[in-house]
Symmetry: C2
Subunit: 232 residues, 2 copies
Amino acid sequence: MSKYPIIKSELKAKLLAGGYREGEALPSEVTLAKHYGVSRMTARRAVDELEREGYIFRVQGAGSFPTGKRFRQGVFRVRSLEEMAMAVHQAPFTRVLKAQIGVASSEVGAALGLPAGSAVLEVQRLRGIEDAPLLLEERHFRIENTERLLRLPLHQESIHALLVGLGITVARVEQNLEAVSLDAARARLLEVPNGSACFLMTRTSYLPDGILGFSRYWVRGNGGAFASAFEP
Amino acid sequence: MSKYPIIKSELKAKLLAGGYREGEALPSEVTLAKHYGVSRMTARRAVDELEREGYIFRVQGAGSFPTGKRFRQGVFRVRSLEEMAMAVHQAPFTRVLKAQIGVASSEVGAALGLPAGSAVLEVQRLRGIEDAPLLLEERHFRIENTERLLRLPLHQESIHALLVGLGITVARVEQNLEAVSLDAARARLLEVPNGSACFLMTRTSYLPDGILGFSRYWVRGNGGAFASAFEP
DNA sequence: GAGTGGTCTAGACCACTCG
DNA sequence: GAGTGGTCTAGACCACTCG
């Protein structure tokens, strides 16, 4: 088991919990190294990844700081798979891998505002064009009202449309885009080499009065980059 | 002057020139280290960045390989600045920093299919919302027919619309999205710490019978990641 | 078994920030 | 001047691939 992911995830958890105020520096790399009993290069690697994922920024000579909430207005928007498939004149597919009542991990629980271990509705879908998988969806919903989704045709394009059909209205969506490495299981599903870089889009959707769902989309790209072509 | 950028740029140049066939491994990290007279960690850092930017992928035990051309169909699409500004009920701005006939760098020349040093039309614009810069555009056009752009109001939203007005029709666009670090000059323009991570979108636009332009957009994000919220 | 990438160490020197 | 991040070294052991 490698060490830097532990340091990274502990820092990330504290950052997400608001444990560092804006302008307040994180522990220095030397401090982290001492605290975790590792070399500075190992501590640094954890901090490197947090920086790359946008959680912090660093200033040489001054320290590492949490990224503020400003300047997060999104410039990128997601094209639907239908739109992409149409552009290449090929057929999209959606395979439902999982649709069940499951148990929230600590990460999912935190995102949904529930204790870890709570019952949640889980939907996992693999989607692509022709026979090439392009994205892996993992969605988690609070189960009030959403259980009825399990009786609906989840292989169709838009789960959002199914929710609307159930009378559930999404009031707001927050999303985040970052570049990550795929774990072995997800890499296998997306048919890419183990550890491939891909885009991870994380979305939290809200009802007028609370959290509805938490979804992650692993989008297979050209490694960490992403290219496309279109006719305007 | 640090060493890994040199290794990185030489590998990248060879990759872009098609110097490695699909399935053909790049030199190993140990080989690179010997060849450049650096430690393996330094050679590795160059390869790390190429992987992160999507130029290569690595397989433990086997080697590092160029990324194939497949699976580059784009999932993300760019929201217009107007659309973003509207979402936050604030005013967008566009400042034209440069609009002139200039000289192609080797990178720009290569992208436009011209020798380095050729005359090209350069437009640089800084765009944002209220007083916060969000993206830096650098566009380069082959000068046939496009010189007339210089007499038009370049501070307006869409240069594409101006081209259409001139009777110039874009037949096809190729684009690529990656995460990069900002150099000092661009970081200053975007008002972010030196070396901040941001998205770099690279676009090549084509006429029916050849290349029209080459544009780069540095999009200030939440470091390497990018978050947004919207009402569906 | 030879070669590859993945991780880690315990140092080092540097540029930079900050009080 | 003390502390910070940026880069680099010369090793080490490991998991993995490939012939």
